[in-house]
């Protein structure tokens, strides 16, 4: 079953003081995300990622279109108990301690009094917040607040989790923790929909990604396919003393990039043996030899380029 179905969702805001004019925030968007899928919603700032998430959360109302989560209309009160949401740069009631806040959210989510305390303590422990659980949130660092945000999003064991820029502003350790959490949610067969503009995170975590730009979905694709092997090319990395490419390599062709003493050489697969022989003859030290893959970045840049014709993938193409 589809976890999230977005059908021709459109949002215009009225701007201006006297004569209000509609400003397009989201062009008709059609997207389907299957249960258990980790979906990355990519796009630069202001592309429409947060607007889409707010529409899905019922925080703003659509101009047109509809949304279904787990087969239910988003106005259905049962939907909200099945979803978790982390807003971008979350801000919480800073007069509360982390424990009080999670307890409050558990109450609002309908977690029974019997299960509440154990659930809150388990979540504090899982997020590494047990030691700080009695501190008021106004004393928390940004990273700690983000962890509280993640804790509240998954506290009530939702089936679908929406995360808006979950890695934003985090240090490397914080980002790793978020990645671990998303991996864990995947292993629990939860559906995760997260927006980001950090492509390496999307590449590492997502089953599929969608690229949105200027309120328009420019493309959807499976990460495995988008980062598949580029047939016929290998990348050779080796040390070259004197920061110069030895003579034998010029004849092999390919693209060369020299950075310090390290040379990256991308060349046709059939030249691989000749390159290795040249390396051996020149007594140069090999660092690695790998097949060349496409990157998500290439796909992203391609979808954002002005030459990329507006493309709305419809039905199954945009779906699973």
């Amino acid at each position: 079953m589809a976890a999230i179905e977005i059908l021709d969702l459109e949002k215009n805001y009225l701007v201006g003081f006297w004569r209000k004019q509609p400003k397009l925030a989201l062009r008709p968007l059609r997207l389907t995300i299957e249960e258990g899928e980790v979906f990355g919603f990519l796009g630069p700032n202001g592309a429409g990622k947060t607007t889409t998430l707010k529409l899905l959360m019922g925080l703003v109302y659509p101009t047109a279109g509809s949304m279904r989560i787990l087969g239910m209309d988003i106005d259905d009160p049962r939907v909200k108990s099945q979803i978790g949401f982390l807003p971008e740069q979350p801000y919480f009631y800073d007069h509360l301690t982390a424990r009080e806040l999670l307890n409050y959210y558990a109450q609002l989510s309908g977690v029974t009094a019997k299960a509440r305390s154990a659930r809150v303590e388990a979540m504090l422990s899982r997020m590494g917040l047990s030691d700080a659980s009695g501190l008021q949130l106004r004393k928390f660092s940004k990273g700690m607040l983000q962890r509280v945000g993640l804790a509240q999003a998954v506290l009530h064991d939702p089936k679908v989790v929406f995360l808006d820029e979950p890695m934003s502003g985090l240090d490397p350790m914080g980002r790793r923790e978020v990645r671990d959490l998303i991996q864990q949610l995947r292993s629990e067969r939860k559906t995760v929909f997260f927006s980001t503009h950090i492509l390496s995170d999307a590449e590492a975590l997502c089953d599929r990604v969608g690229v949105i730009y200027q309120g328009e979905l420019r493309g959807v694709g499976a990460v495995k396919e988008l980062t598949s092997l580029k047939h016929g090319q290998v990348e050779l990395v080796f040390y070259a003393q004197g920061r110069q490419l030895p003579a034998g390599f010029s004849a092999l062709g390919g693209q060369t990039r020299i950075s310090g003493d390290v040379v990256n050489l991308v060349l046709p697969e059939e030249q691989q043996d000749a390159a290795l022989e040249t390396l051996r003859l020149n007594r140069l030290k090999l660092i690695s030899l790998t097949p060349v893959r496409s990157s998500l970045e290439e796909y992203y840049v391609q979808k954002l380029s002005p030459s990329n014709a507006p493309q709305q993938e419809i039905g199954k193409g945009a779906g699973a």
């Binding site: 805001y13 707010k54 959360m57 019922g58 925080l59 703003v60 109302y61 009160p77 049962r78 909200k80 108990s81 979803i83 978790g84 949401f85 982390l86 807003p87 740069q89 979350p90 801000y91 919480f92 009631y93 007069h95 509360l96 409050y104 959210y105 109450q107 609002l108 989510s109 309908g110 945000g149 509240q152 009530h156 929406f162």
Partner: protein, 258 residues
């Protein structure tokens, strides 16, 4: 009460109690009661009158200031700080949020009034050395003050559902001042005719009648408060607050939380 409404109300109450501004206002009210005692000491035979008058007026004014000060930020602050996002993404309906906030603030004001009322009674005991039978009507005056707070909270919430905090404060305070003169306004409407008469009557009956909820002078003189007035004022305050809250809910229900 719906459990989600009560959880939101309790959180609002807890936030207000942990807010230092609230403590400052209570301390200020206590200070005013101290002044009342001083004035009572230098008055001759009218100590009770002065203490009850000053004390209850202080309770009313400080409560109204707190109601406006917190009431205008109840919803707008949550939108600005985006704390609302994680609440409304749960099984919480928008009307539950607004009503929970309202109950939380009125609960805070009731507790606040209880503390200030204790101050008034202590001051009264200090100057009069004993309680009189007529002092029981002070409780009725305090009850009316709480009814005033209900209306002020509801109005602050209503204005803040579509206006900026500053404008909401101005509108609410203006209505409180005009409403305190509602009886005069109604008297004026009675002697005005034609279109002006219609307008004056409409305004007089549209603004909340805070003057009917003010029996401070009456109880300061030891006069009784009729049971009928208590009933009428209770129904009036509840209906007026319910209408203002309903309007706030209707506006908030349609609002895009950008």
């Amino acid at each position: 009460m719906n459990s989600r409404v009560s959880h939101i109300a309790f959180n609002t109450f807890r936030e207000a109690v942990r807010d230092r501004v609230l403590y400052n206002l209570i301390a200020f009210a206590v200070l005013l009661c101290g002044t009342a005692i001083l004035v009572g000491e230098i008055s001759i035979d009218i100590e009770r009158l002065v203490v009850v008058n000053l004390g209850l007026t202080a309770v009313s004014l400080f409560g109204v200031v707190i109601a406006i000060f917190i009431g205008i930020g109840l919803v707008s602050k949550e939108i600005d700080k985006r704390t609302l996002y994680t609440v409304l993404s749960r099984p919480v309906r928008r009307w539950e949020f607004v009503v929970g906030k309202f109950f939380g603030l009125t609960g805070t004001l009731v507790v606040n009034t209880l503390f200030m009322a204790c101050g008034v009674f202590l001051a009264l005991l200090y100057v009069a050395h004993k309680f009189e039978k007529a002092d029981v009507w002070i409780l009725a005056a305090l009850y009316f003050i709480v009814l005033q707070f209900l209306i002020v909270c509801a109005l602050a919430l209503f204005f803040s559902s579509f206006s900026t905090p500053l404008m909401s404060a101005v509108f609410t305070f203006a209505l409180f001042v005009i409403g305190s003169l509602a009886e005069d306004l109604r008297g004026f409407a009675r002697i005005t005719h034609g279109l002006e008469g219609w307008v004056a009557t409409a305004i007089a009956y549209l603004v909340p009648n805070f003057s009917a909820l003010n029996v401070i002078t009456q109880v300061a003189h030891g006069d009784a408060v009729p049971g009928q007035l208590i009933l009428y004022n209770s129904v009036y305050a509840l209906l007026y607050s319910a209408m203002a809250i309903s309007a706030a809910v209707l506006i908030f229900q349609r609002r895009n939380l950008k």
